[in-house]
């Protein structure tokens, strides 16, 4: 029997496959497609203090091997998530969830973390300091080691739960930021968020996205994500959740060999709602082919 289990900050996952934030809602739609308890965990839609509608539409655009999005963190706000979504999740998902939080200020991150601190269902708080669709011209916590450390340290104080800082790939040195987060008390890192990109509608001569720019995700970004996971793994000791373009069991293994302790799958769920299920079912076959007995043995072997 293939042992697919991995451990993130003391939390044992049956397997490393985790749907990524923003591509799985709060799970309700997917629970009609398959039993979500087969998942290692799932990371819910980035949640902010107040409810948000997000950016104007169109806010998705197709690219070769990927998708641009400028959703802008549409979510019902932390109270609704705690009072409505999490109880709903409890009915169909029996494992700890990853609570993804977003924010415009250190205080907002702290507020959300504090509110989630007492929620038993939440296994890990994933702190998204890298949404490319916010902070226009303002501070982007994810592009500056100092700002990243500041958010990390503040959220660290606000909760006893493991905190994973989600990093932006749109930086000169992701290792520098990763180290700053580690030093400021992060339990782990999630990387990568989307690559800032853009498309133009050549008929209307206007950007395809109403918000002009958006974040690129999907298979196209896999090599960039893999490189960053590899680099960061060499630079820090805390575990990494790797993501960016993962679309198959082989990709999961490649990402783990680069240094990921677990793997999130984002955009692929949008093309194929059964992506995570298929990957989990395919993993034992690929492991057998490659002679891997325990998946956690391959973390960072490359």
């Amino acid at each position: 029997m293939a042992d697919m289990s991995v451990v993130l900050s003391g939390i044992k996952l049956e397997n490393p496959v985790i749907p990524a934030s923003g591509c799985f809602g709060y799970g309700a739609e997917f629970k009609d497609f398959y039993d979500l308890n087969i998942l290692g965990s799932f990371s819910f839609k980035g949640t902010t203090k107040e409810p948000r509608f997000g950016n104007p539409t169109p806010r998705v655009a197709e690219c070769t091997g990927g998708i641009l999005n400028s959703i802008g963190l549409q979510n019902p706000g932390i109270e609704a998530v705690i009072n409505e979504e999490l109880p709903r999740i409890a009915a169909f998902f029996k494992k700890p969830v990853i609570a993804n939080i977003g924010g415009f200020s250190v205080d907002e991150f702290v507020y959300c973390a504090e509110r989630l601190d007492g929620v038993e269902q939440v296994g890990i708080i994933e702190v998204n300091i890298s949404c490319p669709n916010l902070h226009k011209g303002g501070v982007n916590f994810g592009s500056d080691p100092k700002a990243a450390a500041e958010v990390t340290a503040a959220v660290r104080k606000a909760t006893g739960k493991p905190i994973y800082i989600k990093l932006s790939p749109n930086v000169t040195s992701i290792t520098e930021i990763a180290k700053a987060c580690e030093d400021a008390g992060a339990d782990g890192l999630s990387l990568i968020n989307t690559l800032l990109g853009m498309r133009i509608d050549i008929k209307s001569r206007k950007p395809l996205l109403a918000n002009k720019m958006g974040g690129l995700s999907g298979r196209a970004i896999f090599p960039v994500a893999l490189r960053m996971v590899y680099e960061v793994r060499k630079a820090v000791k805390i575990p990494i959740i790797g993501m960016g373009g993962v679309a198959s069991a082989e990709d999961v293994i490649e990402m783990m060999m680069a240094g990921a302790s677990a793997v999130q799958i984002g955009a692929e769920n949008l093309r194929n709602p059964f992506a995570c299920k298929e990957i989990i079912e395919d993993l034992p076959r690929v492991m057998a082919e490659l002679g891997i007995e325990r998946l956690r043995d391959i973390i960072g072997v490359a």
Binding site: G25, E29, F53, V60, G65, I67, N69, L270, R271
Partner: protein
């Protein structure tokens, strides 16, 4: 929602740049007219949403216009299979159509009204249909609607076929007394209907979509009763909730 492979039975042009695609497969996911399917096309990251024109338990008919690379690619598939997500969206609510519903389609917004009309006729509702196109070459399905036994008017913007003008002009020629309307077509048409018809309507909208099943928030719109996802809470919205 169901994910299933469908066999292509035929895929032929029925008007200028408009194709009728007949598919065989498991339609168990479809529960209401006005729902749509999302079609996987090799080489394209996102699926392509197309309304179900008609269906039975063996298969379905889709009608689509080639407007870009994806629909062009689709039009070249004459055999083989397609991977579809089916039964997406809410569809039209038959129970809200009343006894004398008016159906209004614009361009390739017409197809879902056919499946709707068929089911309304089965239920004994006395529908009338108004179809609007730009020009004579674009017209399709007029005969198919007539064959259902409903009064069918066609309007063309350039007057090259049927009544000259917009669907709203054609509607003026009909006797009054409709108790509701259902419409699908370009947004300006939907808006014009909403402005001129004082009865309750069900309007089917389009938006750029990524998932098509409600998880990515790509297709959100604001309504009087909060934000809705066109793909999941729509594509059909009720005339009294739409914010124009």
């Amino acid at each position: 929602m169901k994910k299933a492979l469908f066999k292509i039975l035929s895929n032929e042009p029925i008007a200028k740049d408009v194709y009728k695609l007949v598919l065989e497969g498991d339609t168990g996911g479809i529960t209401a007219p006005g729902q749509f399917v999302n079609i996987e096309l090799e080489g394209f990251f996102l699926r392509r949403p197309i309304s179900v024109c008609d269906w039975d338990d063996k298969g379905m008919t889709l009608i689509y216009k080639t407007v870009g690379k994806g629909t062009k690619c689709l039009s070249e598939k004459k055999s083989g299979t397609l991977d579809l997500l089916t039964g997406l969206g809410n569809g039209f609510d038959l129970s809200k159509c009343g006894k004398r519903p008016l159906l209004v389609g614009g361009g390739v917004g017409t197809p879902p009204l056919y499946g709707l009309c068929k089911r309304l006729v089965e239920r004994g509702a006395a529908s009338a249909v108004v179809l609007g196109f730009n020009t004579a070459d674009d017209v399709f399905y007029e005969e198919e609607f007539r064959a259902l036994g409903v009064k069918t008017l066609v309007a063309t913007v350039d007057g090259s076929y049927g009544i000259g003008g917009l669907v709203t002009d054609a509607i003026k020629t009909l006797p009054v007394g409709f108790d509701s309307y259902c419409a699908c077509g370009p947004e300006p048409m939907l808006r014009a209907l909403c402005d001129t018809l004082k009865i309750k309507g069900q309007l089917s909208f389009e938006e750029r979509m990524a998932c098509g099943f409600g998880v990515c928030m790509g297709c959100s719109c604001k309504t009087k009763y909060g934000s809705k996802r066109i793909c999941k809470d729509g594509p059909v919205l009720s005339s009294n909730e739409v914010i124009w």
